[in-house]
C-alpha cells in the first residue's frame, strides 16, 4: 500500500472540473485508489463521490493506492495534484 497527503491550493478547492480530471487519472491506474478527506473515504474512480468530498483550499486529501502498480500510480497522482490543484 502506498499513501500520501496533499494540501489543496486551488482557490476553488477540489471542484467539478479537476475532480473529473482526477477521476480520469485514477481510472487509468490498475490498482485501487481511495481518497480520504474530512473523515470521509471514497473510491477515486467514482466522480460523484470525489466531488462530494468537497475539499476546500487548504484542506488535506489523503491518497491511498493499493494493488498492482501502486508505486507508479501514487507518483502519477501526486504529479497530477501538484500541477492542477
Amino acid at each position: 500500500m502506498k499513501e500520501f497527503d496533499y494540501v489543496i491550493t486551488d482557490e476553488l478547492g477540489l471542484h467539478a472540473r479537476p475532480a473529473g480530471q482526477l477521476v480520469k487519472a485514477a481510472s487509468a491506474c490498475p490498482c485501487a485508489v481511495r481518497l480520504t478527506a474530512n473523515g470521509q473515504t471514497v473510491d477515486a474512480k467514482r466522480v460523484m463521490g470525489v466531488m462530494r468530498l468537497a475539499v476546500k483550499k487548504g484542506g488535506t486529501l489523503t491518497v491511498t493506492c493499493e494493488g498492482e502498480g501502486e508505486e507508479a500510480a501514487a507518483e502519477t497522482l501526486r504529479a497530477f495534484l501538484t500541477a492542477n490543484l
Partner: protein
Amino acid sequence: MLKGTGRPAYSGIAIGRICLYKKEQQDLPASSGDAAAEQQKFDEAKERARAELTELYEKAVRDIGQQQAEIIDVQRLMLDDLDYLESVEALIKSGASAAQAAKESGDSFSAAFAAMDDEYMKARAVDVRDVSGRIVSILCGHKNTAADVEGILVAEDLTPSETVQMPKDRIQAFVTRQGSSNSHTAILARIMNIPSLVQTQIALDDSLDGRTMIVDGFEGVYYIDPDEATLAAMREKQHRAEERRSELEQFRGRPSVTKAGRRVQLFANIGKPEDVKQALAGDAEGIGLLRSEFLYLGRTDFPTEEELYQAYCSIVTGMGGRRVVIRTLDIGADKQVDYFGLEHEDNPALGYRGIRICLKQEEIFRPQMRAIYRAAACGPVSVMFPMIASVWEVRRVKEFCAGIQSELKAEGVPCGEVELGIMVETPAAAIESAALAKEVQFFSVGTNDLTQYTLAIDRQNARLDEFYDSHHPAVLSLLRLIAQNARRAGIWCGICGELGADSTLTEEFIRMGYDELSVSPGRILELRRKVCESEATIDEGI
C-alpha cells in the same frame, strides 16, 4: 408595469421580448415488468446520452473554450459513475422502469449535492440533474428545445447543457429564478457579455411569453410591460452605457499625453504568456509587470533555462516591439512550492523571499537571468528585482548580471541589452531612493507591499479593514519622494501596484512626476482618457 429585482450576473441593459423557457413535464413510462429489458433500455439510453454529450462538448469547445467545456466532460464521467449506475440497477431490480430508476437516482444524488454547505458544490446539483434528465428525456422520447430560443430568456434555472446549446447571437439577456453567481448561467453570461439576473422572484407564467421586458444588469432590476416613461429612461441609460464604451474606444491607439504635453506610458500587468492577448486587446503600450512566478508554480522541480527562455521570448515577441518589464522571481514561504524546500516561517511577508532567495541561492537565479538576457535578443526587455532594501543588494545583483551577460557572450549565445531596475516596495528603499537611483535605470513602485509595510497592516486580515487607508498621507509622501529622487537622477519611474489604477490619483501621480503606470489590461483605456484630459503638470516645488 411589473418591477422586480435579482442579483446581477453581468451589467448592461437589455430591452426585448420575453422567451419563457420551461422544461417539459415528463410522464415517466411504467416498467414493462421485465427487469432485464428495462436495464437494457437504460443502457441504450445511456449510450445515446454519451453520444449527445460528446457532440455538445465539441460545440462548447468551439463556442466558449476548452476550460468551460470541461463542465460538460464531467457529465460524461457521471454517466459512468458506479455509484449512480449501481443505484439505477438496484431500482430496476426492485421493479422500477428504466426512466423511473434514472430519475430517482439522479434526484437523490442531486439532493445530496444541494444539501452540502459549500456554495460551489451546491450549484453542482444542477450538473447531476442535467445528466440524469438527459437520460430520462431520451427514455421518454422527448426532443430538446434549447436550440430554438431567442430574446430575453426567462427560466427557473438553466443546466449547463441547455446554456451551451442556446444560440448566443439571438439571446439578449438571461433571467432566472434560481442560480447563483457560480451558476453556469452566470458564468456564461459573463463570457458572452450579456446582461443577466439570477435569483429573481419572477413568477413563471405562460402569459409572460412574448411580452416586453427590460433587464437592468447595473442595478439588478427588471421591468415587464414597462410604461413609456420607464422605457424611455432605460433606452437613455442603454444609450449612455454604449456611448461610454465607444467614447473610451476613441482613446484606443492614441498616445497617453496630457494637455500640457507630458507623456505617461500605460503598461499592463500580466502573469503568463496567454495574457499577452488581453494586454494587446486592452491597448497596453508595454508590459510594466510580468510576474515571473508562473513558470515555477504547479510543478515538482525547477523549470530549465530553455523553458524560461521560450516563455519570455513568446511574450516579448507577442508584444511586437513594446517594452516588457520582467520582475524576477518573488517567491517566499507564503507560496506553496515544495521543491524550493523553504522552511516554514511565522512571518513570511518579512521573511526569506524575493531577491533575498536569489542572492543566497544563485543556482535558482542563474537560469532565470540567463533566460532574460537571451529573451532580450527578441525585443526590448527590462528586468526589475523585488524586495530591495539596501544599496549593496543592488550592487551585488548588478555584478551578477554583468557576469551573466559576459558569460553568454563568451559562449556565443545570442543575447541583448537589458534595462535594470528595482521594485520600490520596502519603506527602506523609498527612503534611500536617492542613493538607489544612482545605481539603476528605473524604479517601479509596488504599492501593495509598500503600503502594507509602511502601515504595518496585513491586507489579508479583514479585521484591519477600518485601519487600512490606501491614500494614507505617509504612503503618498513616500511616492512623492521616490518620484522626486528618480527625476533628480534622470531615471524613469512607474507604479505597478493596485494604486496605479486608482483614477482618483492619476492627476496626482502626473504632478509627482511618474512616467509610467502599469495596471490590469482592462483599465488602460479609462486611464488614458484621464491622462489625455488632464491639465496637470509636474509640480517642480516638491
